[in-house]
């Protein structure tokens, strides 16, 4: 009983203290309260604390309650949206954007953008498109990134690789890998050194593009003749013309079709498979592979690693003398994947005007400067990305190489079914990348055919669901 009494006293004292020291997180008189949700890594917490404080200084009529989300942000956002308690402004990335946009969770920003002539051209086009769905703008971009390659300059020099890593081709890339993948003497011992890493589904996709293929082809259905016209993922219907009747496609319905078993796409997969012999042996999963590859690169046993600004910032404390390389160009050109984070307003917010002010600020120049100085991703505002805030004069690498990669960074619109398509691709990619003598191994053509079948099934099911929903 003595312990119970002591425990009770502790609980009362602690409870009183915690209640008394609870920070005031409520709007004052005359203030509108907005809730702002973002992923709670320690660095983002610091950045957004400062950004939001400045916003409140400039907008004294608004109080912003920070809601840092620990863990899987997408799951937390789903919970909040379903429970009708989402934040007024919250982070969205291009992975989950289409799912939430389709379900009507985002506020349509077009009226607000028109109302004040907000300049979307100040942002990179791919970044703006990342938050566009069914011809409506639902969010503003914050920072973007793309897959590039960091290479060990010393290993390149030692192996006699002379190809320009910003302009190389598939054959030059393979030639470089051939020279780089060999045992080297480290501390008197012979250790295997590798040229490149195993590509996962997201990066095999880049090789498919480089070969001239694609996975999901976006099409507009002509409202007049019903013909389907292939368009790029960043095309607007009002800017496109029907391939059959030549009329403007404004108001056209958007649709997707699988194209992963074309000869071009299969050639891209074959290239990804060809790179395998220059990579360390596969690990159990992508996550364990990443950390192992980082260690190999940091210790000079891996000549090239996929990476972007984030990885460059990570490796700056190592002794590796690294440079930035672009993906090699294949028969279909030089392509890498583009990804973007941004913010959107909850469609049920009670304060759309105030939320719009906050949204503009967290995706505006002040906030971008904070992200730019952080250096781990590229600001979506062109002016900041190309300024000294991102292109730091005091770092050993040239950040403009990241920025210039926008020319070959391809935005792929992720449909609500993309998750499923992607997991099927991952499943078959594991089989195609098995050892040559493995009985379960499949060929790139078999990979393409199997994935095509899955994509057709997934898209047909989604179309049937949409038709049923429309029927109701």
């Amino acid at each position: 009983m003595r312990f119970a009494a002591i425990g009770t006293i502790i609980v009362i004292c602690l409870g009183t203290y915690l209640a008394a020291t609870r920070p005031v997180e409520r709007a004052g008189p005359g203030q509108v309260e907005l809730r702002f949700a973002f992923p709670a890594s320690a660095s983002s917490l610091s950045s957004y604390t400062r950004i939001v404080r400045r916003f409140m200084e400039l907008n004294p009529d608004i109080f912003v309650k920070l809601e840092p989300v620990v863990g899987d942000f997408r799951r937390a956002a789903q919970r909040d949206l379903v429970a009708n308690m989402a934040a007024d402004v919250f982070l969205s990335d291009d992975d989950d954007f289409a799912v939430f946009a389709k379900d009507g969770h985002y506020l349509d920003l077009d009226p607000l953008i028109r109302q004040e002539n907000f300049d979307l051209d100040a942002y990179y086009r791919q970044a703006v498109e990342s938050f566009r769905w069914n011809e409506k703008q639902y969010g503003l971009p914050s920072v973007w990134g793309c897959s590039l390659i960091l290479y060990n300059k010393d290993l390149f020099a030692e192996a006699g690789v002379t190809a320009d890593p910003l302009n190389w081709t598939w054959s030059e890339f393979l030639d470089a890998l051939e020279k780089l993948t060999k045992p080297r003497i480290r501390d008197g011992k012979s250790v295997p050194c590798y040229g490149y890493v195993r590509d996962n589904q997201a990066h095999a996709m880049c090789h498919i593009w480089q070969a001239g293929g694609t996975i999901l082809q976006r099409q507009f259905v002509c409202p007049d003749c019903g013909a389907r016209t292939d368009v790029s993922d960043i095309a607007h219907a009002a800017e496109a013309a029907c391939g059959a009747c030549g009329r403007n496609l404004a108001g056209a319905q958007e649709t997707y079709v699988g194209r992963i078993n074309t000869p071009e796409a299969v050639r891209g997969v074959q290239f990804a498979v060809d790179l395998m012999k220059y990579a360390p042996r596969q690990q159990a999963n992508n996550n364990s592979e990443q950390s192992m590859n980082r260690e190999l690169f940091a210790t000079g046993r891996l000549a090239m690693i996929r990476g972007g600004p984030f990885s460059a910032a990570q490796f700056k404390d190592t002794n590796v003398n690294f440079g930035i390389a672009y993906y090699p160009a294949g028969p279909g050109g030089r392509w890498t994947r583009f990804y973007c984070d941004g913010f959107a307003i909850w469609s049920k917010t009670k304060h759309p005007q105030e939320a719009w002010r906050l949204l503009k600020f967290v995706c505006g120049p002040q906030a971008m400067r904070v992200h730019a100085k952080d250096g781990s991703s590229i600001p979506s505002l062109k002016a900041v990305a190309e300024s000294e805030y991102f292109n730091r004069p005091d770092t050993p690498w040239d950040e403009m190489k990241f920025v210039r990669s926008i020319d070959h960074a391809r935005f792929m619109r992720k449909t609500p079914q993309w998750d499923e398509v992607s997991s099927q691709m991952t499943r078959y990619l594991d089989l195609v990348m098995m050892d040559a003598n493995a009985s379960a191994r499949i060929s790139p053509q078999e990979f393409g055919d199997a994935c095509q079948k899955e994509i057709d099934r997934i898209l047909a099911r989604a179309a049937a669901q949409d038709a049923a929903t429309a029927g109701k």
Binding site: Y17, P23, S41, V70, R294, T299, D374
Partner: protein, 460 residues
């Protein structure tokens, strides 16, 4: 047929058997303890230690440096709109050549040369730079500069002054890193520190308080002072680097108190409700008692994850979301605790209880005055299990809270891993801090663990 494993015979083992047994036991202990030792070792390392080959067990501590030179370059001020203004880039200074990382911004660097008495004598070195903002740009919130550290562990203080104001350091910055690193000196109080950065919080000493910002144009001088540390202080600074960064990057103090409050409240609550329910199921006679008990027991078969959504909806309906109620009340009821105590209560002699009833005690008084005092071991076991379970809870607190000040330590720990990366040294350091209460409870109550397992399987 009786199998004689490895020639084992019951009775006192001979010398070789005894040695073999000890070797096997030691191997088992080593297997279990090695991951923990690796965790401790990781927490004592800095970020760079993960990029060496091969990774060592012990953190690398550089030799004591009594003399050396630190280089400083690119001193900037940042205004409220996060715009940078260059204050000094030391183009003419040739005292120490900066490597290419900084040389792109200027030809040289400001040298902070020190020569301290060996192994711990007090000493100071100072370098002052007069600054001239390249343009007028609002009010200064931060001063930043590049510093070439030498890992000496000596402590750096920064002073920023101008007409009518002086900012001085609170806590100095131990130079535990080697190579160039950007150092941030906040001129206004900041709640959280960005990870992996070298930070200093400056306080306004004269000419106003911390929230009064000064114009960038008014800054006239930035002074850097290096204070010597002893070898012991240097080693300490190096070993505690991850702990300090981890603790300051999140409001861990608040998380810690939240966890403590919730764990103790749940422990008291669950012990109370379980003992009352167990008493009812063990001693009170009412229709359908055993069926009801079985039904209650069957809830143990339902995975906790399945209950999250209904519990969440209930909390929302009660308007308890993001409150301590949501973290405490659902955890106060436990089928396992009830089952364990019921089994224990059934072993208590009924005579004592009947004697109390004859003396006029009601059911509640019998429970309080007879059953509970006799059940101390069982209650302690349950309390131990409950405290540990509550302290280690992650999923429900993550689901039931939103505000930063409501988070618990386990949720705070997961902040060291984001979409792309895990800060292993910080994660391990924070995990070690979080483990302390668990370890204490385990050390003092370990006998209850085995007893708890025995009691759960006790026959009537």
């Amino acid at each position: 047929m009786k199998i004689n494993w490895f020639g084992y015979r019951p009775g006192r083992p001979n010398a070789s058997q005894s040695i073999a047994l000890r070797v096997v036991l030691l191997a088992c202990v080593a297997t279990m303890i090695l991951p923990f030792l690796w965790m401790v070792s990781t927490a004592l390392k800095d970020e760079k230690a993960f990029q060496t080959d091969p990774m060592g067990w012990l953190p690398a501590i550089p030799p004591y440096k009594a003399a050396g030179t630190l280089s400083i370059d690119c001193v900037r001020a940042t205004n409220e709109d996060f715009e940078d203004v260059l204050l000094a880039d030391f183009e003419e200074c040739e005292a120490a050549k900066a490597p290419k990382a900084v040389a792109r911004a200027g030809q040289g660097a400001l040298a902070l040369t020190y020569g301290f008495p060996r192994e711990g004598g007090a000493g100071r070195a100072e370098a002052v730079c007069a600054v001239k903002p390249s343009r007028e740009a609002g009010r200064a919130t931060m001063i930043s500069f590049w510093l070439h550290g030498d890992g000496s562990g000596h402590r750096l203080r920064v002073r920023v002054s101008g007409k009518g104001f002086t900012y001085r350091c609170g806590e100095p910055l131990p130079i535990t890193f080697e190579g160039w690193k950007e150092v941030y000196c906040f001129l206004r109080p900041e709640e959280f520190d960005p990870l992996g950065r070298a930070l200093l919080q400056l306080h306004r000493e004269s000419g106003g308080d911390d929230d009064d910002l000064v114009p960038v144009a008014a800054i006239e001088e930035v002074a850097f002072r290096l204070e010597s540390v002893s070898r012991a202080e240097q080693v300490w600074a190096r070993l505690t680097h991850s702990f300090r960064v981890a603790w300051s990057s999140m409001p861990f103090g608040r998380f810690f108190l939240n966890s403590l409050f919730i764990a103790i409240a749940v422990t008291i609550g669950q012990t109370l409700t379980s003992s009352l329910a167990a008493y009812a199921f063990a001693r009170l006679e009412f229709g359908g008692r055993d069926k009801l008990f079985l039904a209650y027991l069957a809830t143990m078969m339902i995975p906790g994850t399945v209950l999250i959504v209904p519990t969440f909806l209930l909390m929302r309906w009660l308007d308890w979301f993001d409150t301590y109620w949501a973290l405490i009340v659902p955890a106060m009821f436990s089928a396992y605790g009830t089952f364990m105590l019921r089994q224990f209560f059934k072993t208590l002699p009924r005579d004592l209880e009947e004697a109390a009833r004859i003396d006029g005690c009601g059911k509640l008084r019998v429970w309080y005055h007879v059953i509970l005092p006799l059940s101390r071991p069982a209650l302690a076991t349950l309390a131990t299990f409950t405290f540990l379970g509550s302290w280690e809870a992650f999923q429900w607190p993550l689901f039931a809270t939103k505000s930063m000040h409501m988070r618990v330590v386990q949720v705070g720990l997961s902040s060291f891993q984001d979409k792309y990366d895990v800060q292993y040294n910080l994660l391990m350091a924070a995990a070690l801090i979080v483990m302390v209460p668990t370890l204490l409870v385990f050390i003092f109550n370990q006998r209850f663990f085995t007893r708890g397992i025995v009691m759960s399987g006790m026959k009537e």
